[in-house]
């Protein structure tokens, strides 16, 4: 376990030594503050509007950070050849994958926490109250969703060897699943038998990220807390999906030839 956390520490260190996170945070903060300072619709209470924009930016930024950080891990290690001195140590490939996953998930979590703190400060200052439970649920659900995405991107990173192609493909896949994934079963019902079956199979195969996305609207419209049982179920679903993805990653990577 020490090896896994040691590898994870390097991922986190890399995130805060690179500029990506700072740039995204500053952009998110500037856009939110700018939009919040202008009253476009002559409404007295524009808090909902600020919440919507800020949360959207947080979702996009956290996705960018999670995918960009994860997608370059193994391909960049192979490209810059840092993987050779690393694997020449008593580190198994399973530990390497686990370490990369934990590191990317923790790094994304730290970035997400910073974004949510900023969000809470901005909204709290406007609204005058802070529904802590709702924020904790929203943070946890989004972080769980990021775990699924990170595990899938890690799986992609042992297939696509170039970091840039992995980032692009991962982004396209994550956004497609997030936006279209929930509608596949309805689309399947309208298709001829074989295509319908294929779409239905795809619907059950892909991760349902939209379940996690729904919490965003509850926060915007102040709809109160989700049932904790539902949060637990969603967490279990995320854990199961992450477990399967990491197993698949390990199976693909464990005997892969790494040529110097």
């Amino acid at each position: 376990m020490n090896t896994v956390f040691c590898l994870a520490g390097i991922v986190i260190k890399e995130l805060y030594r690179r500029k990506d996170f700072y740039v995204l945070f500053v952009v998110t903060a500037l856009i939110t503050l700018l939009m919040g300072s202008v009253n476009f619709f002559h409404e007295e209470k524009i808090v909902r509007y600020i919440k919507d924009i800020c949360l959207l930016l947080i979702w996009v930024s956290s996705l960018v950070i999670a995918i960009a950080t994860t997608a370059r891990q193994i391909p960049a290690e192979r490209e810059s050849r840092t993987i050779f001195p690393l694997l020449a140590k008593p580190v198994s490939r399973g530990q390497l994958i686990a370490g990369k996953f934990v590191g990317c998930w923790l790094a994304s979590g730290i970035a997400l926490l910073v974004f949510y703190l900023f969000f809470a400060i901005v909204v709290g200052a406007k609204e005058g109250h802070l529904p802590v439970g709702q924020y904790v649920q929203a943070f946890w659900m989004q972080w769980s969703m990021l775990a699924i995405i990170i595990s899938l991107v890690l799986l992609g990173s042992v297939v696509f060897t170039a970091p840039s192609s992995n980032v692009t493909i991962s982004f396209a896949a994550a956004l497609s699943i997030l936006i279209l994934g929930g509608h596949l079963h309805r689309l399947a019902a309208l298709q001829p038998h074989l295509l319908g079956m294929l779409l239905s199979a795809l619907y059950f195969l892909i991760p349902h990220l939209e379940w996690f996305y729904a919490v965003r609207e509850r926060l915007i419209f102040d709809q109160g807390l989700l049932a904790w049982g539902d949060v637990t179920l969603a967490t279990a679903y995320a854990a199961a999906y992450v477990g399967l993805s990491l197993c698949a990653t390990w199976l693909l990577f464990r005997r892969k030839i790494l040529t110097m």
Binding site: N2, T3, G9, R17, P85, L87, K89, I257, T259, M260
Partner: protein, 269 residues
């Protein structure tokens, strides 16, 4: 360690060594699958067998594409053998624990450029499970050895090529290894750097450590190695003590090497 110089012509066999074998390679075959449609698979190593004894400096030589790198890749766990077996300290090389007592210096410097020298060594040291207090002392010692103490807090991306090579040597020594695998350790180093590496190898030898040394610098190999193996086209061609080979063939190591790989000198035009 009195091993007769042996020219291998037909069936390779495991060469007996006097001390306990640190590295044991038996009938190793490394075959790469075809890279594309209509391409054949590549046989990089063909039934290689050799032992490296404890405490010796062993030179592993061969021209480019001879199968040296493939063999080293198997030893370091970067790829599984197609057939045959390889073990380090009696542990199958596929088991990561086989690398617990190894230090590896790659030919070129491949280290995390966003880390400082101290952070890099701490990271690698933790992977070996070295206790915190001991690790601090080890870091101090290896940085002193490679003369990088003043630059320990600087990011590696700011290092010169020679300094990067030295941090490579420092990371290879962080676990006080019993076996050091050096892949072209002096490439890119100035004469002073080369001398330093040579001194370190000699010091390790005096401490009873084993060194597996791959290099194209045959003069250097002649100076530091106890035994050598020359492979060509994936096959072991010659194995023996450097002094015995030179005496037996009545020529220096470079000429022996060229003869073994079948090089015919061209007359000047």
């Amino acid at each position: 360690m009195s091993v007769e110089a042996t020219e291998v012509t037909s069936q390779p066999t495991v060469r007996a060594v006097a001390g306990p074998a640190v590295i044991r390679i038996q009938d190793l075959v490394v075959e790469y699958p075809p890279r594309g449609f209509r391409q054949a698979s590549t046989l990089a190593v063909r039934g290689l067998s050799l032992d490296v004894a404890q405490g010796e400096v062993f030179g592993f030589l061969g021209p480019n594409g001879a199968g040296k790198t493939s063999t080293m890749q198997v030893l370091l766990g970067f790829q599984p053998p197609t057939r045959g077996a390889a073990s380090i300290f009696g542990v199958d090389v596929r088991d990561p624990i086989a690398r617990q007592r190894i230090g590896y210096l790659p030919e070129l410097t491949y280290y995390y450029k966003f880390l400082t020298a101290e952070e890099l060594l701490r990271f690698y040291g933790r992977l070996f499970g070295i206790p915190k207090t001991e690790l601090g002392k080890r870091i101090d010692a290896v940085l002193k050895l490679v003369e990088l103490e003043p630059a320990r807090k600087r990011l590696i991306k700011t290092y010169s090529k020679g300094m990067q090579q030295r941090i490579g040597l420092a990371q290879a020594l962080i676990n006080d290894p019993d076996l050091l695998v050096l892949d072209e350790p002096t490439s890119g180093l100035d004469p002073l750097g080369r001398m330093k590496v040579r001194e370190i190898i000699q010091r390790l030898k005096l401490e009873g450590k084993t060194v597996l040394f791959s290099s194209h610098e045959l003069g250097e190999v002649e100076t530091v190695c106890d035994r050598i193996a020359i492979i060509n086209q994936g096959e072991l061609k010659i194995l023996g003590r450097v002094a015995d080979l030179v005496r037996q063939h009545q020529m220096d190591l470079e000429r022996i090497f060229l003869r073994i790989i079948g090089y015919q000198p061209q007359p000047p035009a």
